[in-house]
C-alpha cells in the first residue's frame, strides 16, 4: 500500500528512470581514511557511507576479552546531517539493531579464531542517507576489512530488494523505501550463495520472497564484481609524474593566471 498518492512506478519505470532490476550509480573507493588500518567509501546514488576498520587490536575492558577467539565491534551511525530531518546524534534503538545484524553478517567470514583476546573494530558512518543505508554500510565495511589485511573467507556483499507499487524492485532509494510495501535487506557470500543477513520489513507472499531472493542474488553478483575491481584498482601501480608533465602543469597554471589577470 503506497502511502503517497503519487505513483512510484510510471510506464514500467521507476521515478528516477531505472528499470526494476537496475542499481543506482555505484561508486567505490578504498583507502579514504589515512589513519585507519583499512577504509572505504561507497555510494549508491545519494546514499553514501564511509567505513574504517581497525585491528586486530588490544581489547579493553578485560571482561570483554574471549580467550579462544577474537570479537568484532561494529558500529553503525548516521550523521546528524545525513537526512533532511536532523538525526539525533548518539546511539539509537535503530542504530543498535543495525550494528548487531551487520556484525553477525561478518562473523561467519572472518577468521576470528586466529586472533584470540583481540578485537576488530568497524565504524560505519552514513554521511548521506537515501535508502538502503545498512547494505551500503556492509558493502563498504567489507572493502575496509579486506584492505585492513584481516583474514576473511570471502567478501560480504549486500543489497536491498523491495516491493513498490506492487512491483519487486532492487536497490530502493529513500522515497521508495518510505513508501514501500515491503523491504528486504540481503547480505551474502556471493561465490557460495550463502546468506549472512536477511531482514524483512512489511508484507510479502512466500512466492514474492523467493523471487526477491533470486533478484537479490543476481544484484549481489553485480556488486561483488564492483567490490573486487575497487580493491584491485587501489593496488594498481600509478603512472609516475615525469618532469615533462610537471612542466606542462606549470605552464598551464601560468596560462590560467594570465587569463585571470586579463579578466
Amino acid at each position: 500500500m503506497a502511502k503517497t498518492e503519487e505513483k512510484l512506478i510510471v510506464n514500467g519505470k521507476r521515478l528516477d528512470g531505472r528499470a526494476f532490476a537496475d542499481l543506482r550509480p555505484v561508486r567505490m573507493q578504498v583507502g579514504v581514511v589515512e589513519r585507519a588500518d583499512g577504509s572505504a567509501q561507497v555510494s549508491f546514488g545519494n546514499t553514501e557511507a564511509i567505513v574504517s576498520a581497525y585491528g586486530p587490536r588490544k581489547l579493553f575492558p578485560r571482561f570483554m576479552q574471549e580467550q579462544d577467539t577474537g570479537i568484532i565491534r561494529y558500529r553503525y551511525n548516521m550523521a546528524a546531517f545525513s537526512t533532511s530531518d536532523r538525526v539525533q546524534p548518539g546511539t539509537s534503538r535503530r542504530g543498535i539493531e543495525i550494528s548487531k545484524v551487520s556484525r553477525i553478517a561478518f562473523e561467519p567470514v572472518i577468521f576470528l579464531e586466529d586472533f584470540p583476546v583481540t578485537t576488530i573494530d568497524v565504524f560505519t558512518e552514513i554521511i548521506q542517507a537515501d535508502g538502503s543505508t545498512r547494505v551500503t554500510g556492509i558493502n563498504a565495511a567489507s572493502l575496509a576489512l579486506a584492505t585492513a589485511g584481516i583474514p576473511m573467507r570471502n567478501l560480504i556483499t549486500a543489497c536491498s530488494v523491495g516491493k513498490v507499487d506492487g512491483e519487486l524492485v532492487v536497490d530502493l532509494n529513500g522515497q521508495e523505501d518510505n513508501n514501500s510495501d515491503a523491504d528486504v535487506a540481503i547480505a551474502m557470500i556471493v561465490p557460495k550463495e550463502k546468506l549472512t543477513l536477511l531482514q524483512m520489513d512489511g508484507l510479502l507472499t512466500k512466492e514474492e520472497l523467493f523471487k526477491i531472493l533470486d533478484m537479490g542474488r543476481d544484484t549481489c553478483k553485480k556488486i561483488y564484481e564492483m567490490q573486487k575491481s575497487a580493491i584491485k584498482e587501489a593496488y594498481k601501480p600509478k603512472p609516475e609524474k615525469t618532469e615533462k608533465t610537471e612542466k606542462e602543469a606549470k605552464t598551464e597554471k601560468e596560462k590560467n593566471r594570465k587569463v585571470k589577470e586579463e579578466r
Partner: protein
Amino acid sequence: MITRRPYEEKEERTGKEDENLESVEMQEHTLREIVLPGEMVAEKKGRKLGDNVYEEDDKIFAKVVGISVVNENEIKIIPMAGVYIPKINDKVIGVITEVGISGWTVDINSPYISFLPVSEGVDEFVDTNRMDISRFFDVGDVIFCKVSKVTKNKTIRVSMRSLGARKLYGGAIVKVQPTKIPRIIGKAGSMINLIKTKTGCVIYVGKNGVIWIRGDNNIKAIEAILTIERESHTVGLTDKIDKMLGGSAGYAGVGYASSGGPSKESSQESKQE
C-alpha cells in the same frame, strides 16, 4: 653462549644480524595479479599450506588481499596489509612499558603484549627480592630481542638470549607495515644494506615493523624506508632507492660506516645462494 650482559654490548655485531631475517623473494612476484579474500589460488595437489590461505575441497583459497606465491612445496599469500602476529624465533624491536618484580612488559607493536622475564633478560644472577631490576631495563628503553614462546591464546614471551639481542641506545624509531618488512630487507638483505652503505646509519629491522635507525644521515634513511613501504608492490625499487640516496654515498666512509654496509662475508653468502 653470550657471556656479556646485553646492555654492555658494543656495536661490533651491528649490521650482521639482519641477514638472519627471512627475506622473501618478492621481486619476481610483483607482476603477479593481486588476489582477494575468497579467490582460488591453486589446487592443493599434496602441497603444504603456507600463510594466509585456507583449504576447502582440496582447493586453496586466499584469506587476505595480497600476492600469491605458488611453488612445488608450498602455497602462500604475501599480504598487502596487516598487523604483526608474533611467531617463535622472530627478531623484534620492543619498547619496555612496565617494570615488574620478576620481569618486564614489552610492547612489540602487536595486538599482544609480551613479557621478558629476568632470567631471559640478564645473564647474571639477580636476587629479585633485593634488587630493583629497572637498573637493567627501564620504562622507555628500546630492545632488540627474540620471540621465545607463543602459547595457544597468544601469551608472548621474549628473550635476550639470542645472537644480536641488545639494548638500543639513542636513535630514532620508524614504524612501518609489518607485511612490508621483507621488501625493506630485500633479497639476501640487499635493500637494507644499500641504505646502510649510502647513508652510513646503523639500522636494526624488527620483524614487527619497527625499525631503529641511528646516524648523522638518518633523515635520508627514514625517507628511503618510507618510500619502500609506500611503493613496495612496484618493480625496480632497488634502483629507485639507489638513485634517491645517490648524493650521500660519501657518508659511507665516516661515522658508523664500519657497522653499515654489506660485509664481504655476506656478499659471498649471497653468491653461494
